[in-house]
Each structure stands twice: as C-alpha cells, then as structure tokens.
C-alpha cells in the first residue's frame, strides 16, 4: 500500500514538474514576443528592451528556467501589471465563484446522473436505457457554451426565471445566479458520467459475486442497492477525477457565457490585457489542480479497491 502511494506521489511530482516546464517552453519556444505583444507593434526597441529587462527576459534561458521553477513551487508570480496587485492575490480573489460553480454543477450531475445510470444498467436495452442513449448522443454533440445560451434564452429571457449574467454570493444569490451555469456544466459532465457508470454497472451486475448473491436468494433490489450503489460511488469518483481537465475547459466557456467573475473569465481578461504572467499563473494552477485531483482519486480508489494497489506491485 505504502509503495503504491509513494509511487503515485512520485509520478505526480514528475508530471507537475513537466507541466511547469511545458508552460515555460510555450512562452519561450512559441514564436512571439510577450513584450512586443504587450506594448503593441509600433513600440520602440528601447521600450521593448526595458520591458524585457523588467520581465527578466534578457537573462540566459537556463537562469530564467531555474527562477521560473522556484517561483512556481512557491506559487509566486510577482505583481500583475494590469491589475496592480500580486498575481496570487488576483487569482485567489476569483476562485470562489469558480469553486461554487464546480460544486453546484457536480451536485446536479450526481443527483440526476447516478440514478439514471443505475436505471439504464438494471433495465439494459429497455426504454429508459435507449432514451438515455439517445439523449446522451445529442448532448455529447452540443457545444456547452451554446447550450448555456439556449438555457439563458429559454429559462432566463423568455420564462424570466433566472438572470442571464452576473454573480451574487450567499445561498439565495447563488441559487439565483448560479443555477443556469451549473445546469450547463452538469449537462456536459452528465453524458460522460452516465455512459461510463452504466457500462461499469452492467459489468458489476453480471459478475460472479453478484451471481453468488442472487444464488443465496438476496432480492434484486438489495443486490442493486448494496453492490450497484457502492460501485457507483467508486466509479463516479474515478470518472470525475479523470475528466477534470475537460471540466476546467468547460468552466472557462460557461463563465464567459454568464459573465461570472471566476478564474476562467480572469484567464480571458488576462489574455485580452496581454498580461502573460497572469496567464502563466492560471495555466499552471489549472494543470496543478488536474494532477492533484487525479492523484487523490487514484489514492481513494486504492484504499477502496485492493485490486488496484496489488496490480501496481506486479507491474
């Protein structure tokens, strides 16, 4: 068990290191000059050189890389020149709406998705199963931002149930302003959760130990509740852990549609203001979050399911 955890942690650190290096490489290998982009095409060479110096871009590449890694490890990205505040502070001020959106969206996904998946798996090939298959095929092809706009049009503008943009804190404010964004997120995630969970449940319900439970005369309801639910929890967490990168991509779109003041819209503002250091901080943060979430889901999985850590040993 300890070996498995150590192994997983080491791999995660390697990947984190890789993510930091990739961010550095993108900035330095992709043709383009952040100083020129910031100052505009008609900037004088002196102004560009001065900004290069301020950004530390005139130092040798190796030195810049070491400094970059040091800063990344302590999450210190200096001051954002467009927000006139420390970058880490600018970022942390925008995390609350994003975190609430993730939580609310996941809640809807689970409350609706898990029962649907169980229903589809138990009555395989039935009406519900086929209907779910059809709906998931459609929602899979739906651009999340477009679906958000459709919700805004139908439930926001036509039915006047919710405002179509802005964010308010507090329970009432969250329910009012975050329901449409959370529904949009839930639809994007639901497809993946329902499909994967359905197939893993079908596998579980056809397995030997479930047959054994049936042979011992346990009712189908008890079998589904005990085995299917237990496996649903494990399965759903694994699935959500593996699609966290996709989830972040969708978040950026949803925050733009509903004009939420979250980390995703901050990323867009940073690009529009050409604040590449802020972009860099956010890119690193998102990569870190994905790696950490995936590490925790794997560890959780290993604690719950002994087959995983044993497989890790034999590799």
């Amino acid at each position: 068990m300890l070996t498995y955890i150590l192994r997983r942690v080491v791999i995660s650190i390697v990947v984190l290191f890789g993510i930091a290096s990739l961010t550095f490489l993108i900035i330095h290998l992709v043709p383009g000059d952040p100083a020129k982009i910031q100052l505009g095409q008609r900037a004088t060479p002196e102004a560009v050189a001065k900004l290069h110096h301020e950004m530390g871009l005139d130092k040798p590449l190796g030195e810049q890389y070491v400094e970059f890694l040091k800063n990344a490890a302590s999450f210190d990205f200096g001051r954002s020149f467009t927000f006139k505040a420390p970058t880490s502070e600018v970022v942390s001020n925008r995390l609350a709406p994003t975190a609430i959106l993730i939580g609310y969206g996941l809640l809807i996904t689970l409350v609706v998705g898990v029962p649907l998946a169980i229903l589809a798996a138990v009555r395989q090939g039935g009406i519900v199963d086929n209907a779910i298959r059809l709906v998931t095929t459609f929602s899979f092809a739906m651009p999340p931002f477009w679906f958000g706009l459709m919700l805004a049009l139908l439930l926001g503008l036509e039915a006047n149930l919710f405002p179509v943009s802005g964010y308010e804190s507090g329970i009432d404010g969250i329910i009012e302003t975050m329901t449409l964004p959370a529904l949009t997120l839930a639809l994007a995630l639901m497809v993946i959760v329902v499909r994967n969970l359905r197939s893993s449940l079908i596998e579980v319900l056809g397995s030997d130990y479930v047959d054994a439970a049936r042979a011992r005369g346990f009712g189908e309801g008890r079998i589904v509740l005990k085995h299917a639910l237990r496996n649903s929890v494990i399965g759903t967490i694994t699935i959500l852990g593996s699609i966290f990168g996709f989830l972040i991509s969708v978040l950026v779109l949803i925050e733009a549609v509903f004009q939420l003041p979250g980390a995703g819209s901050l990323l867009l503002q940073a690009v529009q203001r050409r604040d590449y250091e802020l972009v860099q901080a956010l890119a690193l943060l998102s990569g870190f979050v994905v790696v950490v979430v995936s590490l925790f889901t794997d560890l959780f999985h290993a604690v719950i399911d002994p087959r995983i850590r044993l497989a890790g040993h034999s590799e």
């Binding site: 390697v14 890789g18 982009i37 739906m142 651009p143 805004a152 049009l153 990168g245």
Partner: protein
Amino acid sequence: MSSAATANGTSLRSSSRARTVLRTAGTLPLGVKIGGLVVAIFALAAIFAPLVAPYGPDQLDLNAIFAAPSSAHWFGTDDTGRDVFSRTLYGLRLDLALALLVTYIPLPLGALAGAVAGFFGGWADTIISRIADVMISFPFIVLIIAIVAIIGPGVEAFLIGVPLAAWALYARLARSRMLVLREQPFMLATAALGYSRRRALFRHAFPNVLRPCLVYSTVDLIGNLLLLAGLSYLGVGIQPPTADLGSIISSGQPYLLTAWWITTLPGLTLVAFGVGVGLVGEGLADRSSEWSAQ
C-alpha cells in the same frame, strides 16, 4: 472487407470489390446508416458551400437586417443583413477542415508513440507515458489560451495547441491496446518465426493498434470541432468577420431575445452534424468490440 472477398473466393476485381463494399454497407447497423447520411449531407453542403449557399458569407443586405427565417433566408439574417444560413455553411466548411487537420495528423504519431511504449516497455514506456500524462493534464482551452497570450489571437494557436496535446490521448489508447496485443498468439508467433522486432511492430501489431484509435477519432473530431467553435466564441479562435460557427453564435448573443435565430440555428447545425458523427462512431465501436471478441 478484403477478408470477406477472399472468403468468397473472388479476386479483387474492382466490380466485385464494389459489390463487397455495398454488401458490407448493407449489413451496417441502422445508427451508422443514419449517421453516415447526416454526415454526408452536411459534409457535402460544407465542401460545396460556394455552390450551395444562396448568398456570399460576407454579403450585406441593409434592407434585410434581422430578417426572421423565411424561404429567402432559411436561417434569417444578422445585424448587418448577412444571410445566417450561408455563413453557417461557410463556417462549417472552415471549422470542419481545421478539425479534420488537428484530429488526423496527431493520430498516427500518437498511435506510433503508444505502440512503441507498449511494445518495448522499460524506459521508452516510462518517458512516453509521462510526457503523455503532462499533455493530458493541461486543460485544452487553457493550453491554447496560454499560446494565444504569446502569439496573439487567431487560429494559429488552435493549430499549434491541439496537436501538441492530442497525440497523447492516442498514445495512451495505443499503449494499452499494445499491452494486450503483445501477449496474443499471433504476436508470439512473429518471435517464434524469427521476424525482426521492427517487422513484428510495424507489419503485425501497428495495424491492430490503429483500429481503436480510428474508432476513438470520431469522438475526438467532434471534440475538436466544439473546441474550435468554443475558442472562436471566446474571441481567441477564428477572428471575425471570417464566418465560423463559434463567432456566428457569439455575434447573435446580444440579440438573443429579438433575433434568436442567429445564435440558435448555427448551434443546431453543429449539434446535428455532431450527432451524425457520434452515431457512426458508436456503430463502429460496437463492431470493433465484436471484432476483438472474435
């Protein structure tokens, strides 16, 4: 297809091959047929957009601003009187071409990397797998926006960013497939027959690795199409006034209530096309699992 042809004892004359293709097409599941038809209609309309579209993509008609959908303007017109249907066709044409490019160029490269990792194991496997982990950990949109921050907004960031990360998904898929294949009797036979490792890898294992990658590519294609539309919607992809589905949808957002068609109908077009591709992909996935079960 070719195995069916040889089983019937027919040579590969073009007429008999065409018949075999038709017969194989006849046995395809209904979903694949419907999906294929939808994809074909949209793809043809997009390819021949200059012939099919009733108006030019940038043709202004100041007498028909915000015209509702009608027989003259199937999808209505926008705030400058441009025909939304024509713009949608041109937009689909551009988006589809770019999405195909970033889907099918990384596919063979990723499949090869994954096949090598799975076939040789050891250090090659560790290095390739870790690099793939890094690429997969980066949320696509964030990666591309980071590139936009350096080179400025435009389709270039999409063309650089997607292949940079997309190969990794194919590599992961190909690697896990290769780990299974390596132990198959026909692969063990290549070693017993004294074939070189190179021949075993490229001639015998690689074609079998490509199949699941091709099936998965239908999912990837929709994903890339939606990603490109999303980036253009955010203003960091294809730049207006060039017609593209994301920017058309975005341009309708301020007029959502008064001119719903500008945002709604191009989006529906994208959904319909995506459902078509999805149906084909599902059918192929079902068939592919039948193949590997045999």
